[in-house]
Amino acid sequence: MKTLLLVVLLPLAAEAQLAMYAVNGATESTVGSSYQFGQVAINTSSSVQFQIFNTGNTPVTVSAVTLGGTGFTFEYPLIQLPLVIPQNSTVTQTLNIWVSLTPTSTASFNASLTITATSGGISTILIGSGVTAPTLTSGAGCSGSAPFNWGNVPVASASSCTFALENLNPQAVTVPSMVVNGLGFTGPVGVTTPFMLQPGQSASFSVTFTPPAAIAYSGTLLIGTQSYGLHGTGQQALLPTPALQFDSASYSSAQQGVLTVTIPGSSPMAATGYINLTFTPTTAAVKDDSEIVFLASGSRTIPFSVTAGATTALLSGENSATFQTGTTEGTITFTLTTAAAMIGNAPVKQFTIGGTKVMVDSTSASKERAGFLDITITGADNTYSAGAMAFAFLDTSGNAIGSGASADFTSTFKTYFGGKTAGSAFRTLVSFPVTGSVATIGSVTVTLTNAAGVATTGSLTFQ
């Protein structure tokens, strides 16, 4: 009786020496009497690695490995058999078998994987089904069909492409995994795998391309066993040509204008640079006018900065910059310089400051100083050609006194302006010696002539 019992038990003990595991990445799972490959898109392959261990205390010789059924194949040629697996085998002492399921139709597939050994074997039934892969279409952000191409994308800028994955099968499809590979490509965002798509149902998600450098990039989007190519090219970011905008279409002398710098659309990147101002006088009398500056800095250069996404540049940290037009006829030119690559040419804006009559800023007429009539005129002559003056005196009743007086101070002005670069502003005092009572001398009107015409002070009442 005891002998019989041993005879019955021995084969069982021998069979139990082999154990089969399925390897999925770093995870191993015990394989029982059957193993599910699950749904596999038709005409694609799903591959599984099986490892055969010897858990017994004696070596086992594997004499045959067979695969009986349709749809399943050995992915790699088997090693030469027989193979002796030592007792208590480690992971490096196993028999490794790779089996693929490549369905060619939407049907169920199964096969028997059998390992025959001298002291017993092990087998399992492999099961899977072929399904039509969910249809992947792209929306905005990349090309419409695989391989999906993002085209040129500014370096370090993120460009997303939206996708729709739709199940056109009459049965539900499980999407086991979605993986994006490749430098520069990230995602998917919007789905969590695994998930099931019912017939006719679709899922939306996005993949983002952020090129680290100005080169071409490739990646893949793996949806289950389906692989889709991803392409994109990093392009050096370009700053849209900034627009120099002014608070007036034209300027004349002795004005203060306001400059703002806008970025059409918005800036795809941060950028810095300078706004420069230059001045070229029309007149040969002077070589420059130092009054023509940006007021924030008191100079002809101000820094600008743009942050990514901004539509307006900061000028010396402010939203705008005020400048003076000075008191010299000529051309003021604004230019923008930046080390950033720009679409088109750097913007340039010129303003012509035309010659004008003498600009009279303030005046006074005084007879307080004994024996003199003092007339003070403060103004500017942006043509640097002033000199001729005429004086018309009226008595306190408004009657003209004599025929007036005229004079040419051209040489005096020329001496004053000579070599100056600080504009044409002047303050002149013209004194008329008088004798006797000045009580009835009421007012004077002064006209000043330059190359642009004749200016008048209006009536100046003697104080």
């Binding site: 003076q324 000075g326 013209v430 010696p433 009572s437």
Partner: protein, 230 residues
């Protein structure tokens, strides 16, 4: 006949006594340096520093006063003074000086600073000379007032949270977004102070920028001053 004779002399003997660079007054830059402002309205340049270490300064038609931390200084001399900034009100060749930190009033004349007994309630915002005495713009809980040295109220001022400057025959004050002068409202935010550059111009500080306000009646105008090149 006498007039005609007079004019006949003028026509023969007039003369241009000279041309020079016009000045709008003197400004105090952010570093405490006093500089001359040259030019005409809206077209100005700044001169080099003439005095440094200044905390307050103002000019009349004829002279300027500067307050350093411990002295009042003019071209005619200097005198020890209470610490801190000062407010000025010019009166011919003299001036009243208010020291906010010590709440003392003094009169400056010929390089001498003489303290004057005074008790002014409230925060003194500005001063102006008036008939040999002085009037104060003060901010109190009850509002802003113009008061005399004896405390009597001359007038009330519109409520404002910003600086106030008494000018001959009027007042300039700043609200949150604008400057108001004789009913004229000039947009400018962040105004923190006024100071008298000359008889006709005020320096206005707003944020980190300096402006000039022309206060001549009928010709009021605001324009920006150039920054000081670093």
């Amino acid at each position: 006949m006498k007039i005609l004779t007079t004019f006949a002399i003028c026509a023969c003997a007039w003369g241009q006594s000279g041309i020079d660079r016009p000045q709008l007054g003197k400004m105090l830059d952010a570093s405490g340096a006093v500089r001359t402002v040259y030019g005409i309205v809206a077209s100005v340049t700044l001169g080099d520093p003439e005095q440094t270490g200044v905390v307050s300064q103002a000019c009349s038609k004829t002279f300027c006063l500067a307050k350093t931390e411990t002295a009042v200084v003019s071209a005619s001399g200097s005198a020890d003074a209470p610490a801190g900034p000062a407010l000025f009100a010019f009166d011919g060749d003299a001036a009243f000086v208010w020291f906010p930190r010590s709440r003392q009033l003094a009169q400056w004349q010929n390089g001498v600073l003489a303290l004057i007994d005074s008790t002014v309630d409230g925060e003194v915002l500005s001063m102006r000379a008036c008939a040999g005495s002085v009037e104060f713009a003060v901010r109190r809980e009850s509002g802003e007032w113009i008061v005399k040295l004896d405390g009597s109220v001359v007038d009330s001022l519109p409520r404002s949270t910003g600086p106030v400057m008494l000018i001959p025959g009027g007042v300039v004050y700043a609200t949150r977004e604008e400057i108001v002068i004789r009913g004229l409202r000039i947009p400018l935010a962040r105004v923190t102070s006024f100071s008298q550059m000359s008889a006709g111009y005020l320096q206005v500080r707003a944020g980190l920028l300096d402006y000039v306000l022309r206060v001549e009646p009928g010709r009021e105008m605001l324009f920006q001053l150039p920054g000081v090149q670093q």
